[in-house]
């Protein structure tokens, strides 16, 4: 009943395998905290959570939680699971983010102490522990080698029943689920539809009930269908990253010129059919962050479509006739290459000679990781409702990664991010992030372009489903335990 975009990889619960894979994992496993309606993070396995000191928490687990095989979930399973994440050999995606966990001290079956090596904002810690990659596994079950492609043992609302390679994944109701009466559904079937057209057709004809990734071009036509509801939220965004070590983009004025030469509105129209918004300042200036403690409207209005200003900046930088350059983009994603074409058109309009290098996704990623490009289009999605997400993209002490600017090294910016992460007071943190955004705009190693609206379409007979807004969007599938069909 749920349409998937790609077949999820083997689903190691501690590795990120894409939104689709996360949808399966959050339903099969429980985490210490979880997302629920209204983008709130509530207790999942945790019953009581007490901060003893900034580096020590005392945790009591929910009573009566059992794995799908009926065995009880205990502190030892938490110790094992967090330990597994921190073991390099696991290849856990969030090992870096969770490296502040020093150890788990088991007190009894339901109680343990969490020791940290450094203080961290408490809300951020709770949020990190609500991510699908922090799933709690059964220590006993994991004693034997397991193949996550076909078998799982969690304590979530559904149990993993069957995987038909290339076709579907079937989940069945977990009779032991801790919440009485939940989940309502007996079975959930995830079917894989790689082609957008087909996924939309399948939803229209009722073959699937949910399409978590509705293409923008179909939003208007689908919203006219009386049987279909659409939930939307701004989530990810596109940016241009530069190779800041090589000419012409080693000059911040040239990078800024790109920021002024691009018609962001045209990208929103062409790539997202109007479902999105230009980013006129830092990422935190996005209107959908309004109401969040980290909303930062200060920088809004910094960027505008201003070819004259772009030309001036280029002249100052010593490129009166602009330059030749190639922009790298992905040929697999319409939004990526259309954005590249509009950047190309904007720069060519002020005399540049830009070519677009459209590559198949794997090649594009590899060229990015090797930093073999001049400038490139990227998609970035915040996974946290905390500006700590900046760490993922613009922290230069990490290995080169395709969506980070190439040759990126700005110690001042790094220091701000590190400090902002370690504080517990939100006001102080916000001040640091504001400062970060100011400095970042000045350097512009990357230029944010537009936010995109993420649309999830489902048949109206699916009750209890709601699209989680903002960073909660990829985890909307967690609500399945509350869903029923009319």
């Amino acid at each position: 009943m749920w349409g998937f975009e790609v077949e999820p990889p083997p689903l190691d619960p501690h590795r990120w395998g894409g939104t689709d894979s996360a949808t399966v994992i959050v339903n099969v496993y429980s985490t210490l905290f979880k997302w629920t309606y209204g983008e709130k993070i509530v207790n999942d396995l945790v019953d009581q959570w007490t901060m003893v000191s900034p580096t020590e928490y005392r945790v009591r687990l929910r009573r009566g939680v059992r794995f799908h095989d009926g065995t009880p979930l205990t502190s030892a399973d938490v110790e094992y699971s967090l330990g597994r994440i921190l073991t390099p050999a696991t290849g856990a995606t969030w090992r870096g983010q969770l490296a502040i966990i020093r150890r788990v001290e088991v007190i009894d079956d339901l109680t343990f102490r969490l020791h940290l090596s450094a203080p961290i904002a408490p809300d951020l810690l709770r949020e990190l522990l609500s991510m699908p990659h922090t799933a709690i596994l059964s220590k006993r079950w994991m004693a034997q080698p397991r193949n996550f492609a076909v078998e799982h043992m969690g304590s979530g609302p559904f149990k993993f029943a069957e995987r038909r390679h290339g076709i579907s994944i079937l989940l069945e109701r977990n009779p032991y689920y801790y919440e009485e009466g939940r989940p309502y559904l007996n079975r959930v079937l995830f079917t894989i539809y790689p082609d957008e057209e087909l996924r939309t057709a399948a939803l229209k004809t009722g073959v699937i009930h949910v399409n978590h990734y509705l293409p923008w071009k179909d939003i208007e036509t689908m919203s006219k269908d009386p049987g279909i509801a659409i939930g939307m939220t701004d989530w990810a965004f596109l940016d241009v990253t530069f190779n800041v070590t090589a000419p012409p983009f080693n000059d911040r004025r040239v990078r800024q010129a790109v920021g002024y030469a691009v018609n962001r509105k045209a990208i929103v129209d062409a790539a997202f059919f109007g479902y999105g918004a230009p980013i006129t300042g830092g990422v935190l200036s996005g209107a959908h962050f309004k109401g969040q403690w980290y909303y930062n409207p200060d920088t809004a209005g910094y960027w505008e479509y201003n070819p004259t200003r772009a030309r001036e900046l280029l002249r100052e930088a010593g490129y009166p006739n602009c330059f030749r350059a190639t922009i790298l983009t992905s040929g697999d994603h319409h939004m990526h290459w259309v954005a590249a074409e509009i950047v190309q058109a904007g720069l060519n309009a002020i005399g540049c000679n830009i070519s677009v290098d459209k590559r198949e996704w794997g090649t594009r990623v590899a060229l990015g990781n090797r930093e073999q490009y001049q400038f490139a289009i990227n998609g970035k999605g915040p996974f946290l409702s905390d500006p700590d997400f900046y760490m993922t993209w613009y922290y230069s002490k990490l290995a080169p990664l395709y969506h980070r600017p190439a040759g990126y090294n700005f110690p001042g910016l790094d220091a701000l991010l590190e400090r902002a992460r370690s504080l517990t007071d939100q006001k102080e943190r916000l001040a640091l992030y504001k400062q970060f955004e100011q400095e970042f705009l000045k350097e512009s190693p990357a230029i944010p372009l537009v936010f995109r609206t993420q649309a999830t379409a489902y048949r109206k007979k699916v009750r209890g489903l709601e699209v989680l807004r903002g960073p909660g969007w990829p985890l909307t599938g967690k609500l399945l335990e509350n869903v029923w069909l009319d």
């Binding site: 062409a270 040929g331 590249a340 058109a345 459209k358 198949e360 090649t363």
Partner: protein, 280 residues
């Protein structure tokens, strides 16, 4: 009797001339797109994207709000270069490999034909993805990739045709007068296998553009902003539901060109092949 004969001949000529004119027209468009195109093929207006035909845009607009008619006209050159370039490579490579493999025996039959087998084993789209992957996208690379894909197909056809005549009296006669291998191939065999080569080549002209559209559908076509018909079809398909003109008009253009090539090929073959003159 005489009248009837010239009448028929005229009609045959007429077909050759008519299809030739259509092709000449497209070649002219390809050489001088600026003369024919009402607008710039790259100027875009995203406020007017995916529109149907109108006075401003006779063929409608694409996903960036560019004029489809102008893009089709400007797309003639890249599309025809891809088609002719690829087929040129296929004819030269395929005829050589196929004739050598068909005429000789032993190693010289074995080597070219097994080479062809190996090339044919790779599914075209997959091989194209692999080659474009490490060569990088671009017109010249596309021509090479598609040409390379077609060499093996052409070689199979030529090989079959050569096999069927290699022991014919005609070739035997060449051999009897002491002609060398190259001479027999060029004078004895080549004229006699032209019919399937022409049919195959005219078919390939159309399908070459389609291979490109398939690549474009998968995101690997001619790099923008240069328009090509294949790229337009591949891209138009994405928005087929929103606005069908983006895929209909380039496809119809491609169809007209393919039809013209095929009929021209038929007529040319009839004209060249003396045996067919009195047929029917």
């Amino acid at each position: 009797m005489v009248m009837a004969l010239t009448g028929r001949r005229l009609r045959r000529r007429w077909r050759l001339v008519a299809t030739g004119l259509v092709i000449a027209f497209f070649l002219l468009v390809a050489f001088l797109p600026e003369v024919f195109a009402p607008r710039s093929p790259t100027a875009f207006d995203t406020a007017r994207r995916l529109e149907g035909p109108s006075r401003d845009f006779p063929f409608g607009t694409d996903d960036l709000g560019r004029d489809i008619l102008s893009r089709i006209i400007h797309g003639a050159r890249p599309s025809l270069i891809i088609a002719f370039g690829a087929v040129g490579i296929a004819v030269v490579g395929g005829v050589t490999l196929g004739m050598v493999g068909g005429y000789y025996r032993g190693l010289w039959e074995w080597l070219p034909m097994r080479l062809v087998d190996v090339m044919l084993c790779f599914p075209p789209i997959v091989l194209a993805i692999l080659i474009v992957g490490f060569l990088g996208p671009g017109m010249a690379n596309l021509v090479m990739v598609i040409g390379f894909l077609y060499v093996s197909r052409m070689a199979r056809v030529v090989h079959g045709a050569t096999l069927s005549i290699r022991d014919s009296d005609y070739v035997e006669a060449h051999r009897a007068v002491g002609a060398g291998g190259a001479r027999i191939l060029l004078r004895g065999i080549l004229p006699n296998i032209m019919a399937p080569v022409i049919v195959q080549a005219t078919l390939m002209l159309g399908t070459a553009i389609l291979v490109e559209s398939g690549l474009s559908f998968l995101g690997l076509g001619v790099p923008p902003p240069a328009p090509s018909w294949g790229d337009m079809i591949g891209r138009g398909r994405t928005f087929m539901l929103n606005s069908p003109t983006g895929v209909v008009f380039p496809s119809v253009t491609l169809m007209v060109v393919v039809l013209a090539f095929n009929l021209f090929g038929d007529a040319l073959r009839d004209h060249l092949d003396p045996r067919l003159r009195g047929a029917r």
